[in-house]
Amino acid sequence: MTSQSTPDGTNAERTSPLHDAHTAAGASFTDFAGWQMPVRYSSDLAEHHAVRTAAGLFDLSHMGEIVLLGPEAGEALDYALAGKLSALNVDQAKYSLLLSRSGGIVDDLVVYRTGDDRYMVVANASNRDAVAAELRDRTAPFDVEVFDESDDIALIAVQGPAALSILLATPGLSADAGALGGSDFGERLSALKYYWSLPAEFETHPVLIARTGYTGEDGFELYLAPDNARALWDALLEAGAEQGLVPAGLASRDTLRLEAGMPLYGHELGLDTMPAQAGLGRVVNLAKDTDFVGRAASEEGPDPEARVLVGLAGEGKRAARAGYPVFAHDDTTGEDAEVGVVTSGALSPTLGMPIAMAYVAPRFARENTVLHVDVRGTRLPFTVTALPFYSRKKR
């Protein structure tokens, strides 16, 4: 047997501040953007199901955090990014894109406004240096400073329907002592809205708790200093054990985000992709009254024939995987023509059927169109399906 999967990342140079905890928990590791990160602890399927039904604990310390500080931080980001970040309230977060001049995607980001003149931009690990460099370059004319804080910030995510209850049960988590607001930590955490954050403390150390995630479930992401990450990780695991919390690796994170229809940089997003092709046109704020990098190209938009992102749902158990070509029957020639390519795919653990995301020619992107994916020599039918494949039931 040979495997086409990435070999274990024993050559990866960087390790998370939680590495020892992962090793102790029996994790298998993978090389992810130069980091040795847990791909699974025991079973990626069990970890996936735990997030859907209870909760999973993820180490995302490889993510990049770039902080902008200064009176013009908001205006600087309005110019550097596709969204209008100056319009964010303090403690609010927004999904955004860093575009190239030609309108392609340099990275997708979550931007947190953490103060009147302070923002934290969270970048994909593989793009951390590019994002930091672009932000420095693009914001140079503004009264703002850019700090790459990635090495000084660890990130732990608690994702799943039990996430709130687990955080409430975790000893040591409390409201930021300096914060105003009156009501207690539990009330404020429970009331925290999606894409908002709460400055808090863990055993007197600052932690930013955000109601964000990448799994399609309710959940939180906790940013804190690396030195305090292990204690918080252990406290969360202990407090969450009886509610079904398990550590979860990147394998389950990938199937979770795929079910939730969330794009992954390097798969659905890249420099040669414009947001409109990826269904992210709404993230590019053309109503913004100021210029931004990539604006002219975005206004022009992609070529009308440019491939667009679709969801594909198959039958049986065989997954369409990244790189597999997509075919459609061409009525004019009577032959099958290659009309696209799969960018992510798996047998959906929750839905039990093969699901995939693919870029296809626009005329084959209509829902219910039947296309065929070449799965290692066998063409299997897949139906164009609205994203996401999975939505949690809102309470």
Partner: protein, 124 residues
Amino acid sequence: MAAERDLKYTPEHEWLLVDGDVATVGITAYAAEKLGDVVFVELPEEGSDVTAGRVVGEIESTKSVGELFAPVNGTVAEANSAVVDAPELVNSDPFGEGWLVKVRFTELPDNLLSYDEYAALTGE
């Protein structure tokens, strides 16, 4: 089930249990661990001829696809239908209920590995 020490191995992380002229073939625990949770197994049909070194089946996990190579020349005597119905057996019992095919062979290749040689290969 024979002890792992008594099995033969291939560099492609398959094991063979030889009984007379029939070899039972599976993938090793090391390989199953590397694949992750197996969710789909495709095996050759019973009665089909297989050639050593050729791909005769697939083992898919959520993350990747593994190919099953025939370790010997011969004829498929039995394919494990239980593992087709319950691919997770490859993870839960790779050396037992997770076996994949039984091949009736003419002769064994001389490049099969012993337990110690295979253990040295995987570093475990």
